[in-house]
């Protein structure tokens, strides 16, 4: 039984890492814009498509060493998807800044439909095979097993998360972002160019989303145009769970959501004697979320919400 629990925890970590990574981009955008960015999942979906496009382009041109090709394609996907994020902010969100928070939310929803449909009509609705970047090998560990891809994802995700935390807390650009998420007015009075901070966030957030998407695609071996919608919702959930706007909170929320889901699947039927099946996993996850929020109304690591962050505030 202990083996079983350990095995499930390993799975929880691997899936949680992906949730955390995408929640990270979500929370950064939210922190600065106070925007429920329904389009975030689509950047996640674009990641593997852009990667494949560039990677196969490279191979077509002759290519360098295979490993180097992958690295270049990964970096290029980050940049391209990031720039797309910046462009979308510029044209679909910025004109709506003065109009409260519901208008940008609608715009984000529309953008999400546009991006997903665009990929569907150009590439086709079918799931495409995505070759693993690292070859998948099961390794026996702690009485269970873990695949090399899972380990790779965990390592990469933690690396990116730590890197992001260092960046936001330790660099000049990071200070811009943090200042802008505290208060736009004060930051601009202090000479911080808020628009640049916003653009920066809209570069990094979607870029991170694309990274998560590439990992995800290489883990499961497929990509498809609809893969972003479900995961976008999960990222939103994870970000809220950890306290939206908080970077460590997003990571924690991601791992926690992974754990709740995995343990729900693993133990709901066992504990209830088969009465409650695995199909109640999401009910369980949502119920835990609601419970946590009842006791910690601002998520686990979120700051107590001031009136500033209420949707209600004049914003309409």
């Amino acid at each position: 039984m202990l083996d079983y629990l350990l095995q499930q925890l390993i799975f929880a970590l691997a899936i949680g890492a992906i949730y955390g990574l995408i929640a990270l981009g979500y929370t950064m955008v939210y922190g600065v814009m106070r925007l429920i960015n329904f389009a975030h999942g689509e950047f996640f979906m674009l990641g593997p498509y852009v990667y494949t496009f560039i990677f196969s382009g490279f191979i077509g041109l002759g290519g360098l060493a295979p490993a180097l090709d992958s690295v270049i394609a990964i970096v290029a996907s980050f940049v391209i998807v990031g720039l797309l994020g910046v462009a979308i902010e510029r044209f679909a969100y910025r004109p709506l800044r003065a109009y409260g928070r519901l208008a940008p939310m609608l715009s984000a929803l529309g953008m999400s439909i546009v991006l997903q449909s665009a990929v569907r009509v150009t590439i086709g609705p079918q799931p495409e095979h995505f070759p693993a970047i690292v070859p998948s090998q099961p390794i026996a560990a702690l009485g269970g097993m873990v695949t090399t891809v899972q380990l790779g994802i965990l390592a990469a995700a933690i690396l990116l998360m730590v890197g992001m935390a260092l960046f936001v807390n330790g660099t000049r650009l990071g200070i811009w972002i943090r200042a802008a998420s505290e208060s736009w007015t004060t930051s601009s009075l202090l000479g911080i160019r808020v628009n640049r901070a916003v653009s920066l966030v809209f570069f990094i957030g979607p870029g991170l989303g694309a990274m998560a998407g590439i990992m995800y695609a290489s883990y499961y071996g497929i990509m498809q145009p609809t893969m972003g919608s479900v995961i976008g919702l999960k990222a939103f959930t994870a970000a809220i769970l950890g306290g939206i706007g908080s970077i460590p909170g997003a990571m924690l929320g991601g791992f926690l959501l992974g754990a709740i889901e995995t343990l729900g699947t693993a133990f709901l039927p066992l504990i209830s004697g088969g009465l409650i099946g695995t199909e109640y996993r999401d009910v369980f996850a949502f119920a835990v979320l609601i419970l946590i929020l009842l006791f910690k109304p601002a998520g686990l690591l979120g700051e107590t919400v001031s009136e500033e962050t209420t949707v209600a505030k004049k914003d309409y």
Binding site: Q7, Q224, G274
Partner: protein, 401 residues
Amino acid sequence: MKKLEKNFTKMLLGWEFRATTLDNERGIFMNRTRVLLSAVALLLATGAMPAAADDIVLGGSAPMSGAQAEFGQSQIDGAQLYFDQLNEKGGIKGNKVVFRALDDRADPRQGTLVAQQFCDDNAVIGVIGHMNSGVTMPALDIYSECGMPQVVPATNPELMRMGFKTVVRPVANDFVQGALPAKYVTEKLGLKKAVLVHDKTVFGQGIAGVFKDNFEAGGGTVAGTFGANPEDVDFSALIASIKLQNPDVVYMGAGMPQLALFLKQMREQGLKAQFIGPDIGFTVDFITQVGAASAEGALMTFQLPPYDSSPELKDFAERHQARFGRAPGPYASLGFANAQVMAAAVEKAETLDREGVLAQLHGVTVDTLLGPVAFDDNGENTTAPMYLYVVKDGKFELVKE
């Protein structure tokens, strides 16, 4: 009088504009409104669809956008391919066939709107639709009220027992599909302990239930039933929990890519049980996505003999590639066969209207891509074939009885 007219127009249009001009951004608002209005006008103008008077118009509906677009589109493409082929040969009785495909987005409400739209258009004399049982259910009422001959692709057994006389279903319902592999694994392979996984959809849950009944009738026991979400991609926790049951057989009622993902993750965790899936998984993608080594030995049911088994099927695959630039999707062949049935009924009809086609619909016998088709009183295919395939060396191979 001129003044009156001017005032009147101002009155009609004035409110909206006057209300907005109170805003200080007057100029911008006016401009934006004008841009918007002209965009709407443009949209409406492009909406009209012409069809010549003596064309035979047939309707088709399936989800062409949203999460199930892949399956719906493949069905529409398959049907379109057949009608194209027919038109190349001069159409039906010298009339060109126009296939009008509408998107129902897998939403029952939009399905009823589509159904009503077909019904209202007297030119439409037959409909192939809908793909989802839940969408077909409320639409049946509407089609039967306007006497619309309908070929149903949805596979829920319930649909044909509701007493509607306007429908036929060439494709085998889920009963046949669930029964065949259950019989095979209990009788031929002697496997007795199964675990069921399904995605809580009408199709997945239904077919898993049929498998269960037949498996138990064949002397097997079902050690557990696990539900998942239709969009799930991570089954690792589920599989670890299934491993505790140590089954001989895992039957999965779900769609793609879930079937492939499940099998791949199942093999990664070292669960060796016999894997069985339904027709949706019968694609080359399944094997690519699982990996040839892991897919080895998996069983899959399908309504067709192998694509390379007959010249017609090979021809179908090649034509599809040529017409749409991709290999036939999951339901392309079914769409093609449904179109064949509908066309055969139209061909036999004495008058080219709904009554004429309806009179022939139940009695039609036609040699389709699916094999020979004939219907019983309920409109079910009496001879609906079902084939069992096994993955061998990275290819689907027919299991000989």
